[in-house]
């Protein structure tokens, strides 16, 4: 057991898998000698060799296409897209190729690849370093979409994603790489070392895909969140003095509908929180599912707290970010309805 922040946990997951499976490779922009702009691949090239962790040209479409070809050969590549905002040049290869190979070839060819990419705001990254494009990927049949919220989950989920035989989009909430930021941007952020989920085994373990975690049990209302917003939701419950049950979805697709329905049937109220823009965001799918499965248990309209339907604004970060103030207001509306 070691104390790890989320970057170290992600690094450890790749290290474990590079050691365990000679068919695992890691590549992407700046990931080799330098170890990645967020240091997620630091030391991997030195330890495992040049051909197992290497730099690529700046061509996201090429990076993903090469990984698809390697997957067809029988390798199990992990690629890093430096920011989720840069993933769009690879969109055709992800949507029309990686996601569809198994189906269109009736299982003859598969794309057992993991696309790691830092996403989300709260770092003053402006509109090209802050986006949350998860709903674009959950809309694509054939992809799995995973978002960890702690170092322990990040390592276990990443190993599960690497071992999965389907393509996985692994979105890393970069605002909480170094500590569980709770949305109170005017307060100092605790480092991960003070959080129990920074206790991470050194070796191999998995956190299964498709299973949510109840990170705070409560009776009054259910909060559905993922990534950074899990910590915002926890802080908001304290701020509002509401006995909220906070569910960290961990995998958006396939979704853990059982954990969600059980909780909403118990509490009768549901608040959905995500950083991404509101319209057609993943919250819309969650709201539709909750009303479909739990309609007769609902005692209040489902609330959504999200980013606004604008590009991510640089100077107005904290007006844009769905922080604790807005989450608390939504919780109170849900309680009062």
């Amino acid at each position: 057991m070691a104390t790890m922040n989320m970057i170290q946990a992600i690094n450890s997951a790749m290290d474990v898998m590079l050691t365990k499976d000679p068919n695992v490779l890691v590549f992407g922009e700046d990931v080799g000698y330098f170890g990645g702009v967020f240091r997620a691949t630091e030391g991997l090239q030195k330890k495992h060799g040049l051909t197992r962790c290497f730099d690529t040209p700046i061509g996201e479409g090429g990076i993903v296409a090469v990984a698809i070809g390697m997957g067809a050969y029988g390798l199990r590549p992990i690629v890093e897209i430096q920011f989720a905002d840069y993933i769009y040049p690879a969109f055709d290869q992800i949507v029309s190729e990686a996601a569809r190979l198994r189906y269109r070839s009736a299982g003859d060819f598969t794309a057992p690849m993991t696309v790691r990419t830092p996403y989300g705001g709260g770092i003053f990254g402006g509109q090209t370093h802050s986006q949350s494009p998860e709903a674009i990927f959950t809309h694509v049949s054939g992809l799995k979409t995973v978002v960890p919220a702690t170092p322990y989950d990040a390592k276990g989920l990443l190993i599960a994603a690497i071992e999965d035989n389907d393509p996985v989009i692994f979105l890393e909430p970069k605002r909480i790489y170094n500590g569980p930021f709770d949305g109170h941007h005017d307060r100092p952020v605790q480092p991960w070392s003070k959080h129990p989920a920074s206790d991470v085994p050194d070796g191999y373990y998995t956190v299964p895909l498709g299973k949510a975690a109840i990170v705070r049990e409560g009776a009054d209302l259910t909060v559905l969140a993922y990534g950074t917003m899990v910590h915002v939701a926890l802080a908001s419950a304290e701020d509002a003095q509401i006995d909220a049950e906070v569910i960290d979805l961990r995998t958006l697709l396939p979704l853990d509908i059982d954990t969600i329905t059980k909780s909403v049937e118990k509490t009768g109220r549901c608040v959905i929180v995500h950083e991404a823009t509101r319209t057609s965001g993943f919250g819309a799918e969650l709201a539709a599912l909750v009303q479909e499965y739990c309609f007769h248990h609902l005692e209040a309209p489902i609330e959504r707290v999200t980013g606004w339907d604008t590009p991510y604004p640089h100077a107005f970060e904290w007006d844009y970010f769905p922080g604790p103030k807005r989450v608390v207001e939504a919780m109170r509306r849900a309680m009062e309805a």
């Binding site: 040209p57 090429g62 070809g69 029309s96 198994r102 189906y103 269109r104 009736a106 979704l255």
Partner: protein, 410 residues
């Protein structure tokens, strides 16, 4: 406004449109046998002339001449001829099947048979091919059953792809034939990735891919060349320049300014420009590139210069945008006719044997089609089970897809 000459926008146009006389006078066609053949391990900067040349082996007297003559034995030539004839007969039959309403769509490769079949002959059987939609000849060259191809086209109960793919989007891993995509050019960088994997594993198999002239305008084309160059991937990247991308002539993809083969030069790769209707030239160029790749010298870009004799697909009517007799005026002739004449010139073939073989391949196709149709045609007779529609989206069916299958009641 300053006193300057106004700018003007240029939009390329082909030499001839419907009603015009086909005009290929601007095409420079060197005599067969005149292009040098450097060693396959030559540095790319010493062989840049090949990107602007036109490698040809069969001359006007149907003799194989010059340094690129691969000196194939007559039996191999006869097999190559037969596979090309079989492919054309298959195309004709499936085109008719579409017209008879037995399937939704078909694409012929008429006139381009050598581009895939001669290449398949030069490659090893387990070299991995990443084709576009006009390389059915590879599967036929590798002995893939015609019946199975037809069942795919008919989306019937024996379709190995279970009715999921548009006709002609074949897939066969055991024949080293990658699942065909309808999105153009995606397979080019994937082939590079496969080749990188083969190199990483210390394997000796190489990859090959095919796209059309129009697709060279896609980003995937350039990423493929860049990655192939950077990692010295053992891959052969073929551009089948058949002059037409649906209705857009190759000048719209930038083919008027320079050759497609010369795109290789900016990436530090060898580019070969080859007479794509010359079975021997395609074979020799592929063999050269394969030798280079297997020797760890990396990728080669090959432009196969040919002509799309038929429409883009059954949904296309080429008489609306090009002279209908343009194919007949194509100066590089027909790959089947040229190889036939060569074999006759060698004394290894005759008109009678050719006629007999033509009858044989038509019979073979007819018999295969009869069997395929007995398994159903699109929307008529036997179909794959509807419940298979929900399978293979993921390795294991997730709850939400299972639920949707239940909602459909299957």
């Amino acid at each position: 406004m300053k006193n300057r000459k106004p700018l003007s926008l240029r939009v390329p146009e082909p030499e001839a449109r419907p009603g015009d006389t086909p005009d290929f006078s601007a095409m420079k066609i060197p005599e067969a046998g005149t292009v040098r053949r450097p060693d396959p391990d030559s540095p790319d900067h010493e062989i840049r002339d090949l990107a602007y040349a036109l490698i040809r082996v069969l001359d006007n007297d149907a003799q194989a001449v010059g340094p690129w003559n691969p000196r194939l034995d007559p039996e191999t030539l006869r097999r190559g001829l037969r596979v090309m004839m079989l492919t054309r007969a298959y195309d004709d039959r499936m085109y008719r099947a579409q017209r008879q309403g037995k399937t939704s769509f078909y694409m012929k490769c008429t006139g381009e048979e050598a581009c895939s079949i001669a290449a398949a002959f030069a490659l090893d059987r387990d070299d991995m091919c990443f084709p576009s939609y006009r390389q059915q000849g590879i599967l036929i060259a590798r002995g893939y059953p015609l019946v199975t191809m037809m069942c795919q086209v008919y989306s019937n109960e024996c379709d190995p792809l279970k009715g999921r793919q548009l006709p002609i989007m074949y897939s066969s891993k055991k024949d080293s034939f990658f699942t065909i995509s309808g999105n153009l050019g995606t397979q080019f960088p994937q082939a590079v990735g496969w080749a990188m994997a083969s190199a990483y594993k210390g394997d000796d198999r190489i990859a090959a891919s095919w796209i059309g002239d129009g697709t060279t305008a896609e980003g995937d084309f350039h990423q493929a060349l860049n990655f192939a160059s950077v990692y010295r991937a053992p891959v052969i990247l073929n551009v089948v320049n058949n002059q037409w991308a649906i209705s857009s002539f190759q000048g719209i993809a930038g083919g008027e300014e320079t050759t497609f083969a010369s795109r290789a030069i900016g990436y530090g790769l060898p580019g070969l420009r080859v007479d794509g209707n010359d079975f021997l030239a395609v074979y020799a160029a592929t063999e050269w590139a394969a030798t280079r790749a297997r020797d760890n010298q990396g990728a080669t870009l090959i432009e196969l210069y040919t002509y799309r004799v038929e429409g883009h697909s059954t949904s296309d009517d080429p008489s609306r945008y090009r002279p209908s007799d343009e194919g007949k005026a194509w100066p590089l002739g027909d790959p089947i006719e040229r190889l036939k004449k060569h074999l006759i010139a060698l004394g290894e073939w005759s008109e009678e044997r050719h006629e007999q073989t033509q009858k044989d391949v038509v019979d073979e196709v007819r018999a295969a089609n009869k069997e395929a149709e007995s398994h159903g045609t699109l929307g008529a007779g036997k179909m794959p089970s509807v419940k298979t529609m929900f399978e293979d989206v993921y390795e294991e069916m997730p709850w939400h897809i299972r639920r949707q299958r239940q909602q459909l009641g299957v």
